[in-house]
């Protein structure tokens, strides 16, 4: 029996609630009285009490085995071993000793060729994977020449109007690209069809190359905003894409739940867990309704989880995610294989810790958060945002520094040499359990509301986030939480100390010209017929991916295809996301 479990095994003397009489409790009380109290009388706490960052839970001066007792901690039940249920200590049996995480970053701007050039540069900086973000016209289902999107083409991501654009973007050294994640949720069937067609045309062996599509429409309605159709139809579209991939490209990842989008919208770790997991359940239920079994679909679920500057909240959240997924699959869904209970993750430092002020300080923050990711269990993949985050899309120099941060955490710190090195810490274990317990309660609340889809439709998630946004901002403004450069160590009349990325605005004109050119040279009658086939599938319930595939091959445009589905599904009103207004 390990020391910890010996200490916490409830015996009549140390049973929880009866702590006052145990030798430990007595020793602790005497330390409080004789050693700490006199010191604190002369040197009071800087804050009373210090609170954790997002949950704002009071943090005790000292954690001891009694805190493990208080949550009923049990080593075998709560932790187990790496690569084994409940995976709290990690999903890989050898941690990062055999394999480091795949190192990636997010990128997206301009036209296909602009993106490809940038992607090649990134792969030369020691990155092995890319997360492809599209511009807002694309993710909202509009073509670049739609009057509604004037001024937004290629600005905040890659502009895609046709298969030809995506082929230009995917002009990449595939032998060096280990990971590609595509973030194009609402128009997912169109995007997926284009990706498959483009990769096929490039001669990429689809059974060897691993593609991840995010396909995460439910979080778009919650706090991101790149939606087109009403939520029920959004879910159906997403399920079509998952089903298509599971049946035709079983080595790909058809769904990723980006908890890392809930966090920047100010979800607490408890909310992140509860919202993400209930959202996952909505997708799972949709797949089960199509006749899949849980052991079949659970291994396809992937999560993107970030950590904020509060080291322990972040680390414990990662551990709780692994454990809760495993328990959910086993206990709620009756999964039987370890593969179904083993969560897949991409971890990342958060963007919201990074300041506009004194941007070089962000390098320090990124290193700290990337270390927290590694300590909490980085999972299969890590991505780092960059120190110029609050200024604009990344500049090349920032990309290089960001890539280096991942390497130095991996190779210089030693945090990856042993598995789950913080396990057994009284604070870490008790906080992990408290987060898990609170998230379990929140899941029960969401269940009562009828699940994630209902919670989104009634604005429950959105309102909850709104309250957090307000409260977190107040904390900073009232100086209750220090943020270097913003309310602490502020430089008066600060001058920007970095060079930032600037997009050439001609991109939009050129993209539109190219789109017009494409439309002028295609078989209009065929396009019309193929678009009707998409409408037909939308109406009838047949999988949307095959008709989209046929249409993109005939150069039907991205916007036209989304419009065909709009004709059937209607549009989502853009007011649902306004938290608390």
């Amino acid at each position: 029996m390990s020391t910890i479990s010996k200490l916490v095994t409830p015996t009549p003397e140390t049973a929880p609630g009866d702590g006052a009489t145990s030798p430990l409790a007595q020793a602790r009380a005497s330390w409080e009285r004789e050693t700490r109290a006199p010191y604190v009388a002369a040197n009071p706490d800087r804050e009373t009490p210090p609170r954790s960052q997002a949950l704002r839970w009071p943090v005790e001066p000292l954690y001891t085995p009694a805190d493990l007792d208080a949550v009923g901690f049990d080593y075998l039940k709560d932790l187990g071993f790496p690569g084994q249920y409940p995976f709290t200590r990690g999903t890989n049996p050898n941690g990062h000793r055999s394999k480091l995480w795949t190192m990636t970053q997010v990128t997206g701007f301009g036209r296909g060729e602009d993106w490809s050039k940038r992607a090649r540069f990134m792969l030369e900086q020691g990155l092995q994977g890319l997360i492809l973000e599209y511009d807002l016209p694309t993710t909202n289902g509009y073509d670049s020449d739609d009057p509604l999107v004037e001024g937004e083409v290629g600005r905040a991501g890659l502009a895609i109007d046709s298969l030809q654009d995506l082929k230009r973007a995917l002009d990449l050294p595939f032998e060096r690209l280990r990971y590609l994640m595509s973030v194009c949720n609402a128009p997912q069937p169109v995007n997926l069809a284009m990706l498959i067609a483009a990769l096929e045309d490039k001669g990429v062996d689809l059974s060897k190359f691993g593609l991840t599509i995010v396909n995460g429409i439910l979080i778009e309605y919650t706090c991101v905003g790149r939606y087109i159709y009403p939520p029920v139809h959004g879910l159906r579209v997403a399920t079509d894409c998952m089903e298509y991939i599971i049946r035709h490209h079983p080595n790909w990842a058809p769904i990723s739940i980006i908890s890392a989008q809930l966090q920047p919208a100010k979800a607490t770790p408890v909310q992140e867990l509860a919202f993400s997991l209930t959202i996952a359940m909505a997708y799972i239920d949709a797949l089960l309704a199509r006749g899949f079994g849980i052991d079949e679909v659970a291994p396809y679920f992937h999560f993107v989880i970030n950590v904020d500057m509060d080291f322990f909240e972040g680390i414990c959240k990662l551990r709780a995610f692994r454990k809760m997924w495993a328990r959910l699959m086993k206990e709620r869904y009756g999964a039987t294989t370890p593969e179904a209970m083993r969560i897949r993750t991409l971890t990342s430092p958060t963007t919201t810790a990074l300041t506009l002020q004194q941007p070089l300080n962000n390098i320090g923050r990124l290193a700290i958060m990337a270390t927290a990711c590694a300590l909490g269990g980085a999972g299969e993949t890590m991505s780092t945002p960059l120190h110029d985050e609050a200024h604009s899309l990344p500049a090349e120099q920032a990309i290089r520094v960001g890539a280096a941060i991942q390497h130095l955490v991996a190779h210089e710190t030693g945090v990856v040499d042993t598995i789950d090195p913080l396990a057994g810490s009284y604070y870490v274990e008790s906080l992990t359990r408290r987060i898990e317990d609170a998230a379990t309660e929140e899941i029960a609340r969401i269940d009562k509301l009828g699940g994630a889809l209902k919670a989104i439709e009634t604005g429950y998630f959105q309102r909850a986030l709104g309250r957090e946004q307000y409260e977190r901002n107040r904390e900073i403004e009232q100086g209750r939480r220090k943020w270097v450069g913003v309310n602490h160590l502020v430089l008066p009349d600060e001058k920007r100390e970095i060079k930032i990325f600037r997009l050439d605005e001609r991109v939009e004109i050129e993209q539109i010209a190219r789109l017009r050119e494409l439309r002028a040279h295609r078989d209009e009658a065929q396009v019309a017929r193929l678009l009707e086939a998409v409408r037909e599938a939308a109406r009838g319930g047949a999988n949307l991916v095959p008709p989209c595939m046929a249409a993109v091959r005939a150069d039907a445009t991205h916007g036209e295809l989304c419009n065909a589905m709009r004709d059937v599904f209607g549009v989502h009103k853009p007011d649902s996301q306004l938290a608390g207004m």
């Binding site: 807002l136 016209p137 993710t139 909202n140 509604l148 999107v149 004037e150 001024g151 937004e152 600005r155 905040a156 706090c223 991101v224 905003g225 790149r226 920047p264 919208a265 100010k266 300041t355 506009l356 002020q357 609050a390 200024h391 604009s392 899309l393 709104g466 946004q469 307000y470 901002n473 403004e477 943020w483 450069g485 913003v486 309310n487 920007r496 930032i500 600037r502 997009l503 605005e505 853009p574 007011d575 996301q577 306004l578 938290a579 608390g580 207004m581």
Partner: protein
């Protein structure tokens, strides 16, 4: 926090285009309410035309746009022009969000009165608006000032 006024400043807040970063506009809305202002929310995914029309119907004093996804160089000048064309030149136009300093001259030339970027204390925004409002009220004819609506307390 200002004293309750029988003539509160009215401000329309909106997001233009497809940019749906909502945290900034949410905290600003609450802060301005706390500062005694009437905040009218026009919502997400607005066009400049919709915002101008709403601003006129609501007879707001200020239009506040939050822009984080880099659409500001096109949408804001267009909004400012429409506002002038439709007789709203007396309304103050302010902006917040991700606005690189390189773009500031362009926006100022177009008629944006003030730009607030990340990390701005919302009380500073309220103070700025309050000062502007008091100066405007002082410039208006004294006849338009209203008597206090409640009897003075002892």
């Amino acid at each position: 926090m200002t004293a309750k006024s029988s003539r509160p400043l009215r401000i329309l807040l909106a997001k233009l285009g497809l940019d749906t970063h909502t945290v900034g506009i949410t905290v600003v809305a609450h802060a301005l309410r706390e500062a005694g202002m009437e905040v009218i929310f026009a919502g997400l995914k607005q066009t400049p035309e919709m915002v101008v029309s709403a601003a006129i119907q609501e007879d707001v004093d200020v239009i506040g746009i939050s822009s984080l996804s880099a659409g500001h160089t096109r949408s804001l000048p267009r909004l400012a022009r429409l506002l002038r064309e439709q007789g709203g030149a007396d309304k103050l136009l302010i902006v917040g969000g991700v606005i690189p300093e390189e773009d500031q001259p362009l926006l100022e030339a177009a008629g944006v009165a003030r730009i607030f970027t990340m990390g701005t204390d919302t009380r500073e925004i309220a103070r700025y608006l309050n000062d502007w409002w008091l100066a405007r009220l002082a410039r208006a004819e004294p006849a338009t000032r209203t008597e206090p609506s409640a009897p003075p307390r002892q």
